[in-house]
């Protein structure tokens, strides 16, 4: 939404002391966020008020002036150049050499009366190079053009930094600027600033210069000057004898108004009209279309001009009847951008008896639009115009936009809501301006079908709502004053501390009842100024405090893993079933549970079509991302995975994933220190450390071998806490890692774990007991036994614990050995045992007895004591 300050000033007298930057900041703070200021020739103020510095071209007051071209003479030596004799207020006339094509028609015409007014630049002025690539600055210098010295320039829009237009120089209309002295600084004539705003959906009423002017008036407490809604004198047959309106869906089309213009001359718009449209970013087309657009930018009401003769022709003998209705099955319409639309049942149409004419509130149809003159076939263009202005249900417009994928300035406004009261104002304003710029005459009367006139919204507003919701005292009179500034009506029947507030008929955003009170509180806060509301600290009592143990434990897990040297990653929670299927070697049935994916109906890319069901795929991708610059990788991720439920929201399960790959230690310069590559036991050590750090009692923790085809056979375990499986850990299957792009280097295993964190955390004891530091000396014994090579060490250890009695404090496996002199198929396991009593120093004899009992138990299980 662009608002030229010069246009804004037509509706509100902004004091000269208020700079455009200050105004912009005020609007921004009041909720009309200014994104940018486009400066036209004027300098930016030193106080920028949060507006970024601008590097636009500033017109030098001494050197960029209004010039009056008195005569165009031929150039003696060049056909493509002319000499313009310019009065710029100096002592003598200045002759300028120019190639501007729009001056050629004036060549050899002798003295021009009136003169041609144009921007004129003197030597030393800074301009944009009209012939350079992109935007390049130049300082105007004297130079010879085909033998004639030239120190000045008549300027194009591009040279002045207004637009990219450089086909000819700017010519200003004498009628508008003829009373301004040549030599006047151009910045005083055309200098301007265009405020560009990004408006939130609740500010539908501000999608026009008038709408913004109302806000400015309220913020600065200035009167608003309403546009002139009077109509020119009509003549001829009345419109009600020439056309009729039929609304079939009053809920969707509460109002439809129209008026008729005769003797229209379709031509270019006058300069002022074109200039203003250009400033707001709208390309001028012809006088009728331009007025329609102008009114939309001016007061926010879109209008549409039909060629009446085309409508009459379609109606045959009868008068045209404009019908607004839902489309028939299979109905089509060609919009004026030339596109054919199959019409969705939710779309609303403007039609006649013969068929669809336009998409209501979004875009006109090609057939019935205002026609341009065509000199070749001696066609003058449309001469009779039916102008309509209507009100539409904003949801209908939104549905039309989404089903046709069409967007327009009109749709932008209607889809946010335009009050039906604005329709008649828009119609009158349009008819008045069209008469002025096209020489038309107005047919008497207006058509105004208004089947669903909304009741005025009245809110009973208790003044103490301001204090209750905003936190400051304000007298009733001050509240009433703020609301009046915003054009709310304050009812006579206001009594006591309750104001009866009537919402003005350009607003749809204020509701009745309790919602309306909040709406008004917001209006009061905006105009009063958010900065003036005091800052306080809640006096309200604290709610009962609830500690979120589960989330606190999750943070503890993060800390433990980071302390263990792992780096946290956070992956996309999106994946694809195909990508996760890479976790299963090709051709095999997955070992993972087969659950429904949460699939996106509108995925953004082929790599992210569903919500993930595992963290492992993401972690393996992370390893690929980093493999070339980080041979050593230790990651973890905590996050959710998603299992779809047919009829309900999915299960969201919190998981912990861990991945290790590459050297156990980072490589340094001391050769030989690198302690090999990470393996299963590194991963297991991390898991054990984590569980111990969470104070889960290790006697409840078991690692059991399991078959799972994402992992190397025999190198994967399920983690059991108590008897409940809570996750997997193992060496990733070589074919799986290869499928993910991690190569097939069997010397460098990739280890991964995925645990159900919710389940793990339920095993964390709420309390734990700290053991006292022993006062009695420990006694140490080593035991080495030879067992069958395939015997699990956990079974040996369990026997030691089971037979060691309560004085056995620690069992530490310190050596596993196979080879000479241990017989083939056997292995030696060596354990360091610690015995300790809390109350006495253990004697050798007592410890030996315990040791013997352990050895006996082991031997009974088939182990042989190693000598």
């Amino acid at each position: 939404m662009k608002v030229p300050v010069s246009w804004l000033k037509e509706f509100v007298d902004i004091p000269a002391s208020v700079t455009v930057e200050e105004l912009s900041e005020r609007l921004t703070i009041a909720g009309l966020e200014v994104a940018k200021i486009h400066y036209i020739g004027i300098p930016q103020s030193a106080e920028r008020h949060g507006i970024p510095p601008s590097d636009h071209l500033v017109w030098d007051r001494e050197r960029v002036l209004l010039g009056a071209i008195k005569e165009i003479k031929p150039h003696p030596d060049a056909d493509r150049l002319v000499l313009a004799v310019v009065d710029y207020g100096g002592a003598a006339l200045e002759t300028v050499v120019t190639g501007a094509p729009n001056l050629f028609p004036y060549k050899d015409q002798g003295p021009l009366e009136p003169p041609l007014l144009t921007p004129f630049a003197l030597e030393g002025a800074e301009l944009i190079d009209g012939h350079g690539d992109g935007v390049q600055r130049l300082i105007l210098e004297e130079r010879e053009l085909r033998g004639i010295p030239n120190r000045c320039m008549v300027c194009s829009e591009m040279e002045l930094g207004i637009s990219e237009e450089h086909e000819g120089i700017m010519l200003l209309p004498y009628e508008q600027y003829g009373n301004i002295q040549p030599g006047t600084p151009l910045v005083d004539v055309l200098g301007d600033a265009v405020i560009e705003m990004e408006l939130t959906p609740n500010l539908a009423r501000c999608f026009s210069v008038l709408g913004v002017a109302r806000e400015v008036a309220a913020l600065y407490d200035l009167p608003i000057k309403e546009p002139d809604y009077s109509l020119p004198p009509p003549s001829g047959t009345g419109v009600d004898e020439l056309a009729a309106i039929e609304i079939r869906e009053p809920e969707l089309n509460p109002r439809f108004t129209a008026g008729l213009l005769r003797d229209v001359t379709i031509t270019d718009s006058p300069w002022w009209l074109q200039w203003r449209l250009k400033l707001v970013g709208q390309r001028p087309i012809n006088n009728i279309v331009d007025v329609s657009n102008y009114v939309m930018f001016e007061i926010g009401q879109p209008t549409h001009a039909f060629d009446y003769d085309i409508l009459a022709n379609r109606a045959g003998d009868a008068n045209p009847v404009i019908i607004t209705r839902l489309p028939d099955a299979g109905e089509e319409l060609t919009t004026l951008d030339g596109k054919v639309h199959k019409l969705d049942p939710s779309v609303l149409l403007v039609a006649d008896e013969k068929g669809a004419l336009s998409l209501a509130g979004v875009m006109g149809g090609l057939e019935s639009e205002v026609q341009e003159p065509d000199p070749e076939r001696d066609y003058p263009g449309s001469t009779t115009v039916l102008l309509e202005a209507a009100a539409w249900n904003f949801i209908t417009i939104r549905k039309t936009m989404s089903s046709t994928k069409l967007h327009s300035e009109a749709a932008a406004r209607f889809s946010r809501g335009v009050h039906p009261a604005m329709a008649l104002r828009g119609l009158k304003r349009g008819l008045k301006l069209m008469v002025e710029v096209s020489g038309a005459t107005l047919a008497p009367g207006l058509l105004d079908a208004y089947p669903a006139e909304p009741e005025p919204v009245v809110v009973d507003f208790p003044v103490d709502e301001v204090n209750r919701l905003l936190g400051f005292d304000i007298p009733k009179s001050a509240v009433a004053d703020i609301l009046r500034r915003l054009q709310f009506g304050i009812g006579e029947s206001s009594n006591g501390e309750v104001l009866q507030v009537t919402v003005p008929d350009h607003r749809l955003d204020i509701s009745p009842g309790i919602i309306g009170r909040a709406d008004l509180v917001e209006e009061i806060a905006r105009v009063y100024g958010y900065d003036r509301i005091p800052n306080t600290i809640m006096g309200d009592s604290l709610p009962p405090q609830r500690t979120n143990v589960s989330l606190e434990m999750e943070e503890r897990v993060r800390d433990l893993l980071a302390q263990a040297g792992l780096r946290e990653v956070i992956n996309y929670r999106f994946s694809t079933p195909q990508h996760e299927a890479l976790l299963t070697p090709e051709g095999q049935k997955p070992s993972w549970p087969e659950r429904e994916y949460i699939r996106l109906a509108n995925p953004i890319s082929a790599e992210r079509t569903a919500m993930r069901q595992t963290l492992l795929a993401g972690l393996l991708d992370n390893a690929v991302t980093n493999m070339h610059h980080h041979p050593r990788q230790r990651f973890f991720e905590i996050g959710h995975v998603y299992y779809g439920n047919a009829d309900d929201l999915p299960e969201e399960i919190r998981r912990l994933g861990i991945l290790l790959a590459g050297p156990r230690q980072a490589a340094g310069w001391m050769g030989g220190v690198v302690a090999g590559n990470s393996d299963f036991y590194d991963l297991k050590g991390i898991v054990e450390t984590l569980l111990a750090g969470l104070h889960i009692e290790m006697r409840h923790v078991h690692f059991a071998p399991i078959a799972h085809n994402s992992f190397h056979p025999g190198r994967v375990a399920t983690l059991l806490i108590g008897d409940e499986p809570v996750g997997l850990l193992g060496e990733v299957h070589p074919l799986v890692r290869e499928a993910f792009g991690l190569g097939l280097d069997l010397e460098k295993p990739v280890l991964a774990a995925e645990l159900d964190l919710d389940r793990v955390l339920t095993m964390v004891p709420a309390e734990y007991v700290v053991q006292s530091i022993p006062t009695q000396p420990p006694a140490y014994r080593d035991i080495a036994v030879v067992v069958s090579a395939d015997r699990r060490s956990a079974s040996v250890e369990a026997l030691i614990w089971g037979s060691g009695g309560e004085l056995l404090r620690e069992v530490r496996l310190f050596d596993v050995y196979q080879g000479d002199p241990i017989p083939e198929g056997q292995k030696s396991l060596a354990y360091a045992l610690t015995f300790q009593s809390e109350t006495e120093t253990l004697t050798d004899k007592a410890v030996n007895k315990l040791q013997k009992k352990i050895i006996k138990t082991l031997e009974d299980s088939g182990a042989k004591l190693r000598a």
Binding site: P52, L600, I604, N622, F635, L649
Partner: protein
């Protein structure tokens, strides 16, 4: 014997003079003074002397032994001194060689910022409430005063699932409704919670926009909560996050689920408000959206909006990190490149 004693004595002294290392000292000690050393052996032979010579010999032998022990001590001290001096002299390392590498673990920057934010709010009595990622359309929009086709739905491009009315939440705000349902006890209890979590938007992934990002939503509902409290509370938050002198600006804005709505900006901490690329040369950085809970939302949460009021706010940890650490590309966050993560 006497002569032999003197000859051992002289030999021992001579040998001692030739000794330069601690190992040699030990060998000398054991050769002359040890259990099987020459002095020990000769002393044992005292008994073989005629009785009248024994006393003199014994006396002299003990004297020699003591002299040798003293000489040894001196020599030892001298050698230790030399050895220490040599060690100090020769023990130079190339201190410019790199240290042994140690690989630290660490937390993702988003986690770190989330923790910081949570801590600040926890100090002010806000507790963490986790709400789900995959949501009903109703909770994400309708109950937050955005019925179907509401224009504000355009502000949040949504990922839809193949299940009707089930979407990925576009903001953490649906958690407001869930927290009110869980904690308000039918609209009779006040609430103060924050709701951190991942949100999802249907957008092209670019340096400036992502399809998933964290949000931290806050909600306070009570019987006397006012916009002035919101201002005071967020100002306190801003000062704790950005420093005690942080200047805060409040702008009117629009969110369907709050009214009045308010954007909170802080004076750019990089340029001090002069204008720099971080603040897009405006001097201000937007840190959160906020407002008074809309009466419709209070009602949907089970409260009577004529008696209860509240405020809500929402902020994006990744945006805060980007501004603080001048990260230009939001895609860094989920790319998990260690060259990024290891800077935290």
């Amino acid at each position: 014997m006497q002569e032999k004693l003197e000859s051992i004595y002289q030999k021992a002294l001579a040998d001692l003079e030739a000794i330069h290392t601690s190992e040699e000292v030990k060998a000398w000690d054991s050769r002359y003074l040890g259990r099987k050393g020459e002095m020990t052996l000769i002393l044992r032979q005292t008994g073989k002397l005629p009785p009248e010579e024994r006393a003199d010999f014994g006396k002299r032998a003990n004297e020699v032994k003591n002299l040798l022990a003293t000489a040894l001590e001196k020599r030892e001290a001298l050698i230790r001194e030399h050895e220490l001096a040599r060690s100090l002299e020769e023990g130079e390392l190339d201190v410019t060689l790199p240290g042994r590498p140690l690989t630290m673990g660490g937390l993702h920057p988003s986690t770190r910022m989330l923790r910081r934010i949570k801590e600040i709010w926890a100090d002010m009595g806000f507790q963490v409430y986790r709400s789900r990622d995959v949501e009903h359309d109703e909770y994400n929009f309708t109950l937050l005063n955005m019925p179907p086709h509401h224009p504000a739905r355009d502000m949040q491009d949504t990922f839809y699932t193949t299940q009707p009315n089930i979407i990925l939440r576009t903001h953490t705000s649906p958690g407001q409704i869930r927290a009110m349902h869980d904690y308000s006890e039918d609209g009779t209890r006040p609430i103060r919670v924050i709701l951190p979590g991942m949100c999802y938007r249907y957008e092209q992934i670019t340096a400036r926009s992502e399809i998933q990002f964290h949000q931290v939503e806050g909600l306070a509902v009570g019987k006397g909560i006012r916009m002035s409290d919101l201002k005071g509370t967020v100002a306190e938050f801003a000062r704790r996050l950005y420093g005690p002198d942080t200047e805060v600006r409040y702008r009117a804005s629009y969110f369907p689920f709050t009214e009045p709505s308010m954007e909170v900006d802080v004076k750019c901490h990089i340029c001090g408000g002069q204008g720099c690329p971080v603040c897009k040369r405006t001097g201000w950085i937007e840190i959160m959206g906020s407002g008074m809970v809309h009466p419709e939302v209070l009602r949907n949460g089970g409260y009577d909006p004529t008696e209860w009021s509240g405020f809500a706010f929402g902020m994006g940890p990744e945006r805060i990190i980007m501004n603080k650490n001048r990260i230009e590309d939001i895609r860094y966050f989920w790319a998990n490149d260690l060259r990024f993560l290891e800077q935290y």
